[in-house]
Symmetry: C2
Subunit: 138 residues, 2 copies
DNA sequence: TCCTACGATGGACTCAATCCAAGTCAATAC
DNA sequence: GTATTGACTTGGATTGAGTCCATCGTAGGA
């Protein structure tokens, strides 16, 4: 899965040290970081990188479709590098941890025309809420 | 549907002018206000009400289960007074407008045990994204 | 190697939401 | 009706996430 950089280069994305570091952080681990966590990890590799650059780069990766923005609740947005496999999310209501899940069927099909109110619907997003194994005990 | 105040009183909720006004704002119209919109409408009826009180009251209504907090994307949270009829949401990605919808079937059933990763799942929340009739043209 | 348009910087700013110490008042008891 | 009291309200300060912008730096083409 480590060809994110190749893909970006292939698309004519201007490569800079900062952008490479952000892409590497996202590509490296399959967790869902907040922008601040990305910043922290990027800073570890390239100390002078700025917050604005991290936001710019994340925003660009999102609009390129390489990364998906996940907004759960009022917490900070998280960035999901697993954009090429459609999936949904399972969120721990206690600690905020996120896992990718793949439910069966198509949720779009469950919405009859009479319930669409003239909207042009583009996608359905399913979030499952619960307690992760670590938080179940507490 | 205007018995929200009755229900609250019945539950021993301490009634104050501020709380009544907030409850009335939510009860009156079936749209999904942001906290600021609630504050604006509450202020129109009771000019000296403070922002903190609106947040406190909204938070309390949420934990009483009388109102549902809807967080879509990075925008401000919205408050949905239609808490007694389970439903999902249709959001306009352009203007942020929200409508309640009732898809068929149970999204929880679509998640096989093998995809639950030991989580204790409490609920599934489906958000449909699209453009509302007013924004489709632009 | 040189140019230059695109990208990065960082500090100020916005916006939503929360905190807190002091003041107020609804509901209960008398 | 009055006194009491603990829960509620206030508003200004604060936090946290994210954006803006004028200026500086540099990747990549000529």
């Amino acid at each position: 899965m480590s060809d994110l950089l190749e893909r970006l280069r292939g698309r004519g994305w201007r490569m800079t040290a900062q952008r490479r570091v952000v892409a590497e952080v996202l590509d490296g681990e399959h967790v869902h970081f907040t922008a601040d966590e990305v910043l922290a990890r990027a800073t570890a590799r390239l100390p002078e990188i700025s917050r604005a650059t991290v936001y710019n780069t994340l925003g660009e990766l999102v609009s390129l479709g390489e990364v998906v923005e996940v907004a759960t609740d009022g917490r900070a947005k998280r960035y999901d590098p697993n954009a090429h496999h459609p999936h949904h999310h399972l969120v721990c209501s206690h600690c905020g941890a996120i896992r990718d899940v793949h439910p069966t069927g198509d949720p779009l099909a469950a919405l009859p025309t009479s319930e669409r109110f003239g909207f042009t619907i583009r996608e359905a997003e399913v979030t499952y809420w619960g307690l992760c194994p670590a938080c179940t005990g507490t």
